[in-house]
């Protein structure tokens, strides 16, 4: 570490720079934007250090809403306040929304062709696989969970059975399971602190 005052890393120059940056970023993200966000904002533009990115990503993930949109709003807010958050949000959604609607229109024109229907069915099966894989990749993050592996697996299994198989409403699952799990985690964090203090 340097003894000089913390160097300011590069940052967005203006609201339009913010808008354009997030628009370009969103337009590069096929099948999800997260990988692009990391490469562009941390490695290329260096608006965030890797540590700041991980920290912000955890928060963006915990809060409701699309994770990458949450993250972009947090960055916009940090540099330009509320206006920055709104501009970042608009950048992430406006042009991609027009693109996706244009694709739906183009597709409508060829929707009666069996090959086109088949293509979409095939892409749908791939999309289901992409989402499943995202879930599988995140399982690794549970290894450090304070609740322990067994509780984590049990929670995940109960959630899957309730949502995917029994089709119970998400609200109840989140309130009941999420509430119990958070209380248990709170207790475990306390126990951890007590152990830490006694050593």
């Amino acid at each position: 570490m340097s003894f000089l005052p913390a160097q300011k890393h590069p940052q967005p120059q203006s609201l339009s720079d913010l808008f354009m940056s997030f628009t370009l970023l969103a337009l590069q993200g096929f099948g999800g934007v997260l990988a692009v966000v990391q490469r562009e904002l941390v490695e290329k533009k260096q608006w965030l250090t890797r540590e700041e990115f991980v920290d912000d990503w955890a928060v963006a993930q915990i809060l409701p809403g699309p994770n990458v949109v949450n993250l972009s709003m947090m960055i916009g807010d940090r540099y330009f306040g509320l206006r920055g958050a709104l501009v970042a949000l608009a950048g992430m959604l406006t042009l991609p929304l027009l693109v996706v609607l244009a694709m739906a229109l183009l597709f409508a024109g060829i929707a009666d062709v069996p090959a086109a229907q088949g293509a979409l069915r095939g892409m749908g099966a791939v999309a289901a696989g992409l989402i499943t894989a995202t879930g599988l990749k995140l399982i690794g993050a549970l290894h450090t969970n304070v609740m322990g592996a067994r509780i984590c697996w049990a929670l995940a299994a109960i959630t899957f059975i309730a949502i995917a198989l029994l089709r119970i409403r998400l609200l109840w699952v989140l309130l009941v399971l999420g509430g119990l799990a958070s209380m248990w985690a709170y207790r475990q964090l306390g126990a951890l602190r007590a152990v830490g203090a006694s050593q």
Binding site: A125, A127, N145
Partner: protein, 203 residues
């Protein structure tokens, strides 16, 4: 999109119901908008009959094939509900108007609560990230968020419920999940492969 629009009638109360339902989903969308897909499907397809299963699935597939955040599948879901209510694009201005109304109602409903909450909570959370309740909540919901993603994959696949005929689609989903999980291949190749296999009638 891939199937003829349903013919449905949406009253003002129905549009309001759609809006408030998406506002609720917005606040529940921890882990991303896609984690609410099973609930969205239950409400729109099973309960209210505003959308066919095929329309719902193709909305997600098209949004995945397009650039941008996955939340844009919500816009396509709204677009399709609007098309069903307005008689399709063949109905001219009315069809377009309803389709765009559907986009606005679902997207604003989906974004407004979560964006507002994120703005204030992220500021607060950043200041208090070492607090025990903040950490407990993060740790507690982590396994649930992961299971929600797996449930979404399951619900999308389970829509194809004729095993004798649909097994290639199931296989494609499983293979995709394994490939994405274990390799760093660009997702666009997989979507392209899925489109090709489907177009050739192999999936």
């Amino acid at each position: 999109m891939s199937h003829p629009p349903l013919s449905i009638v949406m009253t003002h109360a129905d549009w309001l119901g759609l809006f408030t339902h998406f506002m609720t989903l917005s606040l529940l969308s921890i882990g991303g908008a896609i984690t609410t897909a099973p609930e969205m499907q239950r409400y729109l397809v099973n309960d209210r009959l505003w959308l066919t299963d095929a329309q719902f699935n193709s909305s997600i597939a098209l949004a995945q094939a397009a650039p941008g955040p996955n939340v844009l599948f919500v816009a396509l879901v709204g677009w399709n509900v609007g098309l069903n209510a307005g008689g399709g694009l063949g109905a001219g201005m009315a069809g377009w108007g309803f389709a765009l109304l559907g986009v606005a109602v679902t997207m604003v409903g989906m974004m407004l609560p979560s964006a507002t909450l994120t703005f204030f909570a992220a500021r607060w959370g950043h200041r208090n990230r070492e607090l025990r309740p903040v950490r407990a909540f993060k740790q507690g919901v982590a396994p649930i968020v992961i299971a929600l993603l797996l449930s979404t994959g399951w619900v999308l696949t389970a829509g194809h419920n004729h095993p004798a005929q649909d097994w290639p689609l199931w296989l494609l989903t499983v293979v995709t999940a394994l490939v994405v999980w274990k390799t760093r291949i660009h997702l666009l190749w997989l979507l392209g492969a899925g489109a090709l296999l489907g177009a050739l009638g192999l999936a």
